[in-house]
Symmetry: C2
Subunit: 360 residues, 2 copies
């Protein structure tokens, strides 16, 4: 048996207002005046000077505002990489992602593709990246995805929704400033928080579980319960703790694997473009069979916060569309094996998945 | 206000038997055939072929067996560094520490001093190291110290007991194989485990606490309670969990600070050579005033496991000796400030410390 040798984030700073330290963090990393820092920033912050005025810009540094309304795509990565290469005379000094999972995954993928030849779709899979990425920094502005600690960057490509999993993927630097999450809309807060909750349930109930993942998963789950079920925390405390829950939940799955909800959510994401957070919720509603306690607790949380989950999104799909979605879900073999063990193919048939998708 | 930018361990592997992967982990790191891997191994393993036969040796690789009966010294680091430099034609490819906190701290310090000029005592303090260390690997064989994740290496120098705290100190690779802890004697298991417990109490009750340290400290404390107070775990499960408790406890203090017990234990260590684990226990017995709940729970643990703690170790000391011990303890200002706030000097007087030491 061989165990994963997991690459960790190199440096992390945590604290309210730690975003103000970004200039001090980056300046020793500038290679030369022609090698800019490129900021990939969620376009919800465009015109928000509270945040943007604190992004340190010198020389040819540039901000790209990117919409996170759609899941990140391999074609989007390739276009941004081409634009950066054509615009500057030198490779960037660093790529800084400021946003949620979509933006952080784009920043990771761009930093990899600036030094690796070809198209990003060629690197979807495990350990296909050959050269170290450009220095890259992750600054989450919404909590739950775990993208800040993972060794993957989930992209929708022409053929599949799959991550670029490699030792070069994790961030060189993460800035955890919970103050940046203060204006997240309530439904987004819930959907993305539930990504963390689902990570914990899938990790703790998986066959790949070990004491390393268990300790992280248990702590993240405890924090989720405190945040989403209890009324003891101030909003600031709650945001602080959700940022740590996301971190620990990410570490838990990073060293084990996700499960049924993620496999099926990737299918929805690939075919219908459903965003990952809400996609997890749509799927998780119907997984009592696999995670009975986890789903029951999720429903209490959803009701407590009066959140609406879209329904009937699969009701008008053709057989061909179901086939595409089922193909994507079934291709994620490690997720199913983690959830149900080596013999998962005995119970997870195409008919079973169609039956589940039809409920959603 | 400025927050710490904490450097993490680069890569970690966890699992029973993961020690067998050491060869695969190291081979890509060999610089050339003249650049050996140097193993710093606790001499309790000398002649123990169960462990030593699995240490991968090629070319000029060498094992140094080192006693951990005494706390690590700056002079010891300097001697080992000189011997390595005189023996080999090239700098080593890597330094691998296999043992407890003493051995791991020696490995960290040697890897730093092979690339930084002068004597190791010159680097005791904060951020005095200028050049990156040699690639270094930590493999704990006893759990609790947190040395596997810290950015320090605590050394007894001619003038003080103080760490080399730097961004270059943390390990490039940690191998967490709980099987390696199976033969730890019961009293050592308890003393070193209590180092972790005390880390949690000092971190969670400190004024430097933040949500980052809190989440790690709470998880480590929970694991300590399960291990030392309950009877639900098998020996293997207990050893697995204590290895993770040490890791999380280390992360908790790494991002905050220790407190009263550590400050006073360093005094005992410097003057009397008391080992750190038992030193913490000797001190902690008498700190009800500062950590009432933590000390009460510690005493339940000590009684449950029928552990004897040395007494009266300060009863025959001269005034001069008390002064030395008190000087060392008082010099650790961040520890006192974390424990008691900015105005700690109002209550922590030389007389107060002497009164406490006299009880021990």
């Amino acid at each position: 048996m061989s165990y994963k040798n997991f690459p960790m984030v190199s440096k992390v700073v945590f604290g309210r207002g730690s975003f103000n330290q970004l200039g001090d963090i980056l300046s020793p990393k500038r290679l030369n005046v022609k090698a800019p820092f490129i900021y990939i920033v969620d376009d919800v912050f465009q015109g928000n000077s509270w945040l943007t005025s604190r992004i340190p810009l010198s020389y040819d540094d540039k901000i790209y505002y990117i919409s996170a309304n759609e899941e990140p795509k391999t074609s989007q990565v390739d276009e941004l990489v081409e634009e950066i290469i054509l615009t500057y005379k030198a490779l960037p000094s660093g790529i800084i992602g400021i946003g949620g999972g979509t933006i952080m995954d784009l920043a990771k993928a761009i930093s990899i593709m600036l030094t690796n030849e070809g198209e990003s779709k060629e690197y979807q899979g495990w350990d296909l990246v050959k050269k170290p990425a450009i220095y890259h920094v992750g600054i989450p502005t919404i909590s739950g995805t775990g993208a800040e600690v993972s060794r993957t960057t989930i992209l929708t490509g022409p053929h599949r929704k799959l991550g670029i999993n490699s030792d070069f993927t994790p961030f060189d630097q993460v800035v955890l400033d919970p103050e940046l999450t203060k204006d997240v809309p309530k439904d987004q807060w819930f959907y993305t928080g539930m990504d963390c909750y689902v990570h914990c349930i899938e990790s703790l109930n998986g066959t790949y579980l070990n004491s390393f993942s268990q300790s992280y998963g248990e702590k993240a789950l405890e924090l989720c319960k405190e945040i989403f079920l209890e009324d003891t925390l101030s909003k600031d405390e709650s945001n602080d703790k959700l940022m740590m829950a996301s971190w620990h939940g990410g570490m838990s799955i990073a060293y084990s694997q996700v499960g049924v909800a993620h496999a099926m959510s990737y299918g929805l994401g690939y075919l219908l473009g459903v965003k990952h957070g809400v996609g997890n919720c749509i799927v998780f509603e119907h997984l009592e069979e696999y995670y009975p306690e986890g789903v029951a607790m999720y429903k209490v949380m959803r009701e407590k916060h009066n959140i609406t989950i879209p329904k009937g999104i699969c009701s008008n799909l053709s057989d061909k569309e179901f086939d595409i979605m089922i193909d994507v879900a079934l291709s994620l073999e490690p997720l199913w094996e983690n959830a149900l063990g080596k013999h998962w193919k005995k119970t997870i048939t195409r008919d079973k998945l169609k039956e589940l998708y039809l409920k959603m």
